[in-house]
Amino acid sequence: MTACLAQISSPETGFIASALFYLFAIMAGAAAVGVVVTRNVVRMAVMLMFTLIGVAGLYFLLGAEFLAAVQLVIYAGGTLILIVFGVMLTTKSPFARFEPKMAEVVVAVTIGLVLLGAMILAISPANARFASNPISAGQEYPMARLGQALLGDYVVPFELISVLLLVVMIGAAYLAKARKR
């Protein structure tokens, strides 16, 4: 779908592509702000889900269909459910609040905004060295090529990450066992 959108660069499809971009970007950004602003942890998890779906949409627009699907399945499906379970296991009332001090909020927001300003400045067309022509999926990335890259160029990190997963599995099992003592 994305590849077609990018290759047929008639004005209508261009309009659809940019409209989709703004839709997904605003959805992800607004939900991200919601995650930080909301006081209810469960509502936060739902907001995070909307962020993840918006980011998956951006992946689609960038031609990374496989990763968009993986994002939806692993993050929105798996990690988020895990988080909700964590919330329900830990909070006596899911509406528990820890209000931060005003000074902390001011400092944190200042730091965040300064960082954001620096990043936006760094990527602005005046400073950045990359061309600002529209990004297009132009080339297709079939899943087969991604798999070949993972088992070819990136085989060492791939194996390392497999070992990491095994270690994490053992660690999680150990934590679960220690809980019973």
Binding site: A28, L48, L58, V87
Partner: protein, 102 residues
């Protein structure tokens, strides 16, 4: 409406990363801090994929797969630890473990 360029995607990534940082620094609940790290991961992943699409190679996507795996591993371990910490002190306030500062 102009077609989205690399800068548009990088801006979205930067916004999500900074929102995550602000949340991480302002909130005290351990689970909420954890959610904010997930937001930061998402911002970085958008950058990786956007640069991958810009340079027409698969490095960005491969890296994002690794990021996803790390995030999943982090989620399982961090939530297990948070549950254990909650059992021992009965609160999720990060300040309850002040003595870890040393």
């Amino acid at each position: 409406m102009a077609l989205p360029t690399l800068q548009h995607y990088l801006a979205v990534g930067a916004i999500m990363f900074c929102v995550g940082i602000i949340g991480f620094m302002t909130r005290r609940n351990l689970i909420v801090m954890f959610l904010c790290t997930e937001l930061m991961f998402q911002g970085v992943a958008i950058n990786l994929i956007a640069f991958g699409a810009y340079h027409h190679n698969l490095a960005g996507q491969a890296f994002v797969i690794f990021v996803l795996v790390i995030a999943a591993a982090e989620a399982s371990l961090a939530l297990g630890l948070v549950v254990l910490l909650f059992r021992s002190k009965n609160t999720l306030d990060a300040d309850a473990w002040r003595e870890l500062r040393g």
